[in-house]
Each structure stands twice: as C-alpha cells, then as structure tokens.
Symmetry: C2
Subunit: 211 residues, 2 copies
C-alpha cells in the first residue's frame, strides 16, 4: 500500500498491520504449533506491541482461527457433541461438521481447506487438526488406553476426505446427497473408528512396531 523502504519499530494499527500480524502468525504457528506459539512471539515477529494483537484478535485461539481464515472456532462448534454418551458421538460429530459446511460459511471454509493443505506443506492444517480440533476428543475414546489418538485421526481421515470430495471437489452425486443420507451412511464409519473393537492393538506401542 504505502511506500515503505524502512519499517518503523512499532507501528500503529492499520489494515496492513493486521495482515502482517496474520502473516507472522501463520509462520509461527506452522513452525512451532499452537501450544508453543505465544502472542508475544507473533507480535515480535510482526514488530508490533502484543497489546495490538490482543486488540485485533482477542485470544491466541482467535488469532489462530483468523490466521487460517476459518470463520468459526471449531472447538466451540463441536463442544456440545462431546457432552453426549460416547456411543452417540460419531453421527452427531459428523452432522455438526456438515452443518457448518452447509451454511453460508461454505465458500470460506472451502478456501481455507484448499489453502491449508498447501500452506507450509500442511503444517498449519496438521496443527489445526491435532492441537485444536481433535484434542478434546482423544481422552473420551482412549479405550483401550493409548488408542485415542489413532481413533480420532481415523475419524479425521474420513471427515476430511468427505469435506474434500463433497464440498471442495463437489463430486456429484455425493455433493447433492441430503445431509441425513450422508450421516446415515458415513456416521457408522465415524462411530466405529471412535469406539469399535478392531481386534488388534493400534496404540503404536505394539511389538510389531513401525513397518
């Protein structure tokens, strides 16, 4: 925008400042993950006062969702689902995620999906899924102990792939299938990943190890 040969140490708030904070946030979150990134570090990288970051984005959660251009905090959206009996979470989780994508938010969500797959080789999307969306679900389905992480990652594989094929690639007829039908067919898959007995140890600690 402005001709800026040199950058002042502290700059007042402006639209471009906001964008520079978001750019710095993307770099920091991709490099260090959600937990190990601080508002202070992002402010430092953007060369602004931390108070300005708080002013624009509120919390670190707000900064993260803004940096991904995700228009909602997914943890808040799925929080009610996690109050359900664990045997009912699968279809309800799927219906809730689909509900967000069936809303006017869809183009923004689809753009964020496409962008985060490529951004920093997917580091931001990985952080988003592991540290932000799925973490609260892990302890609820950690049966047998140690299996919770792979269970929720299998859920992520099915739901992310469904979002990709239905909303990003809009494969027909899948893209036009009523939500009730999608939940009826895919919901049992999600539930099986969450609570199914697979007859084998998938905790990653098995003697079979990594092949």
């Amino acid at each position: 925008m402005s001709a800026r040969g040199t950058r002042p140490g502290r700059r007042p708030g402006s639209s471009s400042t906001r964008q520079e904070i978001l750019a710095a946030a993307r770099v920091e979150f991709a490099r260090n993950g959600f937990d190990r990134t601080t508002i202070r570090a992002v402010a430092s990288a953007a060369r602004v006062d931390p108070a300005l970051v708080h002013h624009y984005f509120g919390t670190k959660r707000g900064l993260f969702t803004a940096s991904l251009e995700v228009p909602v905090d997914p943890s808040e959206v799925i929080a009610p689902v996690l109050e359900l009996p664990v045997g009912d979470i699968g279809p309800a989780l799927l219906r809730t995620v689909l509900g967000a994508w069936e809303s006017p938010l869809r183009p923004t969500l689809a753009a964020a999906f496409r962008a985060t797959v490529t951004e920093s080789d997917g580091a931001l999307l990985r952080t988003f899924l592991l540290e932000f969306v799925l973490r609260d679900l892990v302890p609820l389905v950690d049966e047998p102990a140690g299996s919770g992480r792979v269970r929720v990652q299998l859920v992520a594989s099915q739901i992310a792939g469904l979002l990709l094929t239905r909303y990003v690639l809009t494969l027909e007829p899948l893209a036009s299938l009523p939500v009730d039908d999608v939940v009826a067919v895919v919901g049992p898959t999600v539930q099986r990943y969450l609570t199914g007995d697979w007859g084998r140890d998938l905790t990653g600690s098995a003697s079979s190890g990594i092949r």
Copy 2:
C-alpha cells in the same frame, strides 16, 4: 530461459516446449475434463504440432498423468483389483493404493495431491477421480442400479482423506501405523461403501431430492 519476445508458430522440441505443452494440457483438462479434451486441442493451445505431443507423452492418458505430475497411471495400478470378486475389492483396493504411496513415489504423489487440490479450484483432481480413477469401478458396484457413482465417491472420500492425513499431513501415530493395520481397520469401511446395504435409496433419484 531464453529471451523470447515473440513466439514462433511452430517450435521445435525442447524442455520448455514440453513444459508449455503440460501447462496447456492442465488448462484444457481442467476446463473440459478428460473425455472432451483432445491431443489436437492441447497442441493447438501450446502452438505445437500434435505429433510432438504424441512424441513426448504417447497417449492422452500419458499426457494427463504427466500434466498432474502423477508418476504412474492409477488405472493400470488398480486394474488387477477390479478382476476380484466384488466382495473382496474394498480391502484389496485400499492395499493397492497404499502400496503405491508406500513406495519411493510418495513425495511425488504427495506433491501432486497438494497441487491438484488447489489447481483450478480442484477441477483437475475432480477430473482425475471421476473420469480416470473411479470410472471402471462404478459398473461393478452399481447395485441397486444407479448407486454405483455415489458408492465409489464415498470410497474416494475415505481413501483421499486417508492419503491426506497419513501421507500429506503425516498425523502421528496414523502415519506410522503398519499397512496391515490400516487395511484391517479401514478396509471394511471401503467394502461397506462398495457393497453395503444402507436401507435407503442413495441413487440421487429419490423423491426426497436435493436438500
């Protein structure tokens, strides 16, 4: 590379010519799909002789996989699986796809996955899946009649999501799970999408219509 102010009408073969043919192919395939794109149209867009396109890429299939930078023809890879009894295709298809990604091709495949999600808003990946990878599978699982397309698209949702989470995002522990374990847990999902009785009409012709 070279300083090129004007472009000659027909240019001899060169490395940059090859790249320009591929660029033209990506535009044509994204715009018109696989079936409606011709070698002649790509050659015309790239301003080369069609014989040169054949020389570099052999067939239209070869041109398409090259334009996606996919190092193998997926149809050839999965062809043996389609010879199996339909009740056995699910786990075998999954194992075959994983096998390609467990090979030294993985970085190239992951790069192609990332690139095609964003290229032309996903039009190339949509064409790749619908007209190239999944088409031969549809008639094998079209029971009841009309359900074949949505069945294979559900399969695509699970397998694409698994490739994304395991190989592109490398979510751990899912990324390190032995292939046998992945097939044991996800294979039944694929098989259920292919041949399961869902107790509802998902052919897209139901009176419920599109909601």
